[in-house]
């Protein structure tokens, strides 16, 4: 039919007049429409229809009909809240009736949603990034697009030359600031040097962005060697004492004066810095050169303007002409655009990004992962609900016969799933709370996120739960609403589909494979962790106390502590054994062409003896002689022999800078670094000015009084400094904390996979048992034993389990032994029999429990129950 009245108007009319009898009115409207259309064309007919429909809705005719409708007891009530209350009541009754079912579903959906919550929370926080700066919407930065040999790159940074031109010549710009992010002072402290991340910038930085000063003044950014610290950095460096005016001694930037401390500011900004300094400080180190066009890594230009970005971009394009020749030399072409700071997170994945950037593709991946986990959980719920159809079919049949339309059945199921999801989301929120710190620790830039459970976020979570509920409930709802009442009442709902499709079996096998793989992973990690902690790394680690010190205090401390009765031995070193080494230097062969990189440990002359490190040759006691004496490990000795060939004096080596050293001893290779590092070439040197740790061997029966004694001695010497002694085993344990993180994450994933796969299995088992109720009943009445069903179900499950094993075991062997252990450096057995056996048995027993419980339930029912109605 071509001449149809406007669909939308018709639909709207039906919707707004819902419940009332509209057929004759719609017919009248339709007839008038056709009449109008013939006489005055389509447009005016449409207008006429809309107008008439609208008038009709307001007319007494419809009002009266609606009123009559709502009084009628056998038809749908207009009072939705009453109906909703009914849905809720029936839902609660159903939920209470199937407690195990509900519990399992809540568990499955709760776990499934937890990753979704994480993704949502991340996204929500990112959208609030950098909003706390004043007029944040007006702040932009210049980004650069480079075209080179057909490849295109988009950089967050901009040429310095352009930024200086822009600062001088741009019109309509309120404020601007240059930033260079290559300021990394390494602060000398007791123990490891503290590496700070900082920006070279201008006083305008503090005007433009919402980083208020707590003390000092922004003019510090114009004076040489002055810095402004964040509150956290000041706390780390100086504790609770005022930092203003103090000086910081660094390894690479000389001595810096603290000219200001920032007040605490919100974490959700893309700027990530501990310290700010002016461009005047250490000018040679950055590339903020006004004539520099093509080397712009790490140089950023932010500006604030009321104008539209396109107006600034037009000005920039004309300024860019003076730089074109520089780019042409390198066969490059550059163009510039503005990026709002609000668009940085989540934003495009730009090259050379500043600070914390979560790019949109990454966010999509995150959401994808969340869906990947949520969808199986939803499908399992649907499957289980459908499998449970027989229990519900009578209710539906009766409701339908009493005149309830399909819509009401759909609503009933949606309300039920939403209700379950609302409970499940509580569990997810709990899970979210549990794992958020681990996740934040793993995410690059996780420090900028807080994941605080604000009321807003909770509201979003609940909306997400409602949405999940609706989507999840749709499958069972549609399935049930289509059941004809006769079928429903005769209990023949599922009869046409007795067998389980191959696809569902495949899905289940896949879920089992995943759970097996994750469980084996936990086993492997646990084993690695246990072995790492108990491994004899080749040095003394029992009862050794580690104390971070300042190198210049070393003689004082040695003197004060040697008289302590509990200390049996002591030595000093630049790095704790068992902890990764930060320093390395090159050894050269005679002509300086070939080299070996060796890690460096500075010690005193007692270190080797004290730590009980075995020597291959020579003695651990080093002396200062004509050439510096060093100890090398076997690795380094071997490599040196390789590159030097047959040198005249094999014990004379040349280090970086042409310094000649004499090898006074060869150490048997031992794991000075954590076990996940291979044993690398290493050199031990004497170096009084580098000794940042004291190691004490303790023998005592009363550890508490010993510690108080040592602390008293320390406070006697340095009343200002805290006493930070720890035991070496604790330090080593900390070095392996990444295993704990790994185990936690694997544990979470395994729990997820196991729960979801078990729910899937349960759904399948229920489906089968419910469908075979009659068969079992007839067999039973004919005198069959009741084990038959159990056998056949177990057989089915067993086959799937074996297939899953055959896939999972080689897969995890391949992954854990060949790939992951490459990264973690294999030193335990890797995938062993016990891990595989344990995880297989666990899945098997969980599956069997599901089967046994369900089939005994079917078998124990009196056969008469199942046959009575036929």
């Amino acid at each position: 039919m071509k001449d149809q009245p406007p669909k939308l108007a018709e639909r709207l009319f039906k919707l707004l007049g819902s419940g009332a009898f509209l057929e004759d009115l719609l017919g009248d409207l339709h007839e008038m429409y056709l009449f109008k259309r013939k006489s005055s064309g389509k447009l005016s007919a449409n207008i006429y229809y809309w107008y008439q429909a609208f008038r009709m809705l307001l007319s007494y005719a419809i009002i009266k009909r609606k009123r009559e409708r709502s009084l009628s007891p056998y038809t749908q009530s207009q009072k939705h809240n009453i109906m909703l209350f009914n849905y809720l009541r029936i839902s609660v009754r159903n939920i209470a009736k199937n407690k195990t079912f509900t519990l399992l579903n809540i568990f499955g959906l709760g776990l499934g949603m937890s990753i979704g919550l994480l993704a949502l929370a991340t996204y929500m926080e990112l959208t609030r990034f950098d909003r706390f700066h004043q007029d944040a919407g007006d702040i932009y930065r210049i980004t650069t697009r480079i075209q080179e040999n057909g490849s295109k790159d988009h950089f967050a940074s901009a040429p310095t030359a352009l930024s200086y031109l822009a600062a001088e010549q741009l019109t309509g710009v309120e404020q601007y600031v240059h930033i260079n992010d290559h300021f990394f002072p390494r602060v000398k402290t007791a123990g490891e040097p503290l590496r700070l991340n900082g920006y070279f910038t201008e006083p305008a930085f503090l005007d433009m962005f919402g980083f208020p000063l707590a003390s000092g003044s922004k003019s510090a950014l114009t004076k040489p060697d002055m810095v402004i610290l964040t509150q956290e950095a000041a706390q780390r460096l100086f504790g609770d004492k005022p930092a203003l005016g103090r000086s910081i001694e660094t390894e690479n930037q000389g001595i810096l004066q603290v000219g200001g401390v920032l007040a605490p500011f919100p974490k959700n900004t893309h700027f990530a810095f501990d310290v700010l300094t002016g461009f005047s400080a250490n000018h040679g180190l950055n590339e903020s050169n006004p004539t520099n066009w093509t080397r712009f890594y790490g140089n950023y230009f932010y500006l604030k303007t009321d104008l539209r970005p396109s107006q600034i971009e037009a000005q920039l394009a004309s300024m860019a002409h003076s730089g074109e020749s520089f780019f042409e030399e390198k066969n490059m072409e550059a163009s510039y655009s503005l990026q709002s700071i609000l668009a940085i997170n989540p934003g495009k994945d730009l090259e050379d990004g500043l600070g914390v950037v979560f790019d949109s593709p990454g966010m999509y991946m995150f959401f994808g992962l969340a869906l990947l986990i949520l969808i199986p959980a939803c499908l399992n719920y649907g499957n289980m609900a459908v499998a449970n159809a027989l229990k519900r079919s009578k209710e539906i049949g009766i409701r339908k016969i009493m005149g309830s339309p399909n819509r009401q059945i759909v609503h009933q199921f949606l309300v039920e799933t939403v209700l379950i999801c609302m409970v499940a989301v509580l569990l997810s929120i709990f899970m979210f709370d549990l794992i958020r710190n681990e996740i934040l620790g793993m995410l690059a830039g996780g420090t900028a996120l807080s994941f605080v459970l604000s009321p807003n976020l909770l509201l979003i979570f609940f909306l997400f739960a409602i949405l999940t509920g609706i989507v999840t409930g749709l499958l069972p709802a549609l399935y049930f609403s289509r059941i004809t009442p006769i079928k429903a009442l005769r209990n023949t709902v599922n009869n046409q589909r007795i067998s389980i499709s191959g696809l569902r079996k495949g899905l289940l096998v896949f879920q089992f494979v995943l759970s097996l793989a994750f469980m084996i992973g936990i086993g492997v990690l646990l084993k690695q962790y246990r072995v790492s902690l108990n491994f004899d790394q080749g040095f003394e680690r029992e009862n050794v106390l580690v104390l971070p010190i300042k190198p210049e205090d070393q003689p004082l401390i040695a003197n004060a502590m040697s008289s302590a009765p509990a200390i049996t031995d002591m030595s000093f070193t630049s790095s704790i054994p068992g902890i990764p080494l930060g320093r390395a230097l090159y050894f050269y062969n005679g002509n300086g062409l070939d080299s070996v990189l060796a890690r460096v440990v500075f010690t005193d002359d007692k270190f080797i003896d004290h730590m009980n490190i075995d020597m291959e040759w020579g003695s651990g006691a080093l002396m200062e002689t004509e050439f510096e004496q060093v100890l090398v490990n076997q690795q380094l000795m071997g490599r040196l022999a390789n590159i030097r060939g047959e040198a005249a004096d094999s014990l004379l080596a040349e280090m970086a800078g042409g310094k000649k050293v004499r090898i006074a001893g060869v150490i048997k290779d031992y794991n000075h670094e954590p076990l996940n590092q291979r044993i690398e070439p290493m050199v031990v040197r004497l170096g009084e000015s580098e000794l940042t740790y004291a190691l004490f061997s303790i023998r005592t029966n009363d550890i508490v009084s010993t510690m108080t004694d040592l602390e008293a001695r320390w406070e006697n010497l340095f009343p200002e400094e805290p006493f930070q002694a720890t035991f070496l085993d604790n330090e080593i344990e900390k070095a392996y904390s990444f295993f704990i993180v790994g185990i936690k994450i694997f544990g979470f994933l395994a729990m997820l996979a196991i729960t979801i796969s078990c729910l899937g299995l349960l759904g399948m088992v229920i489906f089968t048992t419910e469908n075979r109720k009659k068969e079992v009943a007839i067999r039973k009445t004919l005198g069959a034993g009741s084990m038959r069903l159990l056998y056949s179900l177990s057989g089915l499950f067993f086959r799937m389990w074996v297939i899953a094993l055959f896939i999972a075991i080689p897969l995890s062997y391949l992954y854990y032994d060949k790939i992951m252990m490459r990264v973690y450096n294999k030193f335990s057995g890797g995938v062993g029999f016990s891990e595989v056996a344990l995880s297989s048995l666990l899945t098997l027993s969980l599956g069997m429990i599901a089967i046994v419980v369900q089939s005994t339930k079917v078998m124990r029912t009196n056969p008469a129950e199942n046959l009575r109605n036929d």
Partner: protein
């Protein structure tokens, strides 16, 4: 009396009487707009019809569907005996008033 019968209501009742079996929404609307030259919306008409039905002057039944109505049924309206007696009362009142007129109402 079951309430006051308005001029438009009387018009609708008489139109229904004129149309007899063909008295349904659109037909009534068209008849009124042709004979009385009035612009009228469906909504207003149906409001009046609903009121008249409520007062008991009208009854209705659903007829046959037709293609010009998108396959929907018509609602036919018929006068009830109360409706007819009400019309008669109105007419006799009117006749009485005409007769009693002291001036000549005849058009010349």
């Amino acid at each position: 009396m079951k309430g006051y019968l308005g001029e438009f209501e009387e018009l609708v009742l008489l139109t229904i009487a004129n149309l007899d079996r063909e008295a349904y929404g659109v037909a009534i609307l068209q008849h009124i707009s042709e004979s009385a030259n009035r612009k009228l919306s469906l909504g207003a008409l149906h409001s009046t019809l609903a009121r008249l039905e409520e007062k008991g002057y009208l009854g209705s039944y659903l007829g046959q569907p037709s293609a010009t109505r998108g396959g929907r049924r018509k609602r036919h309206f018929v006068l009830t005996s109360e409706g007819i007696s009400e019309l008669n009362k109105m007419k006799s009142l009117r006749d009485q008033l005409w007769k009693g007129s002291k001036i000549n109402l005849q058009l010349k």
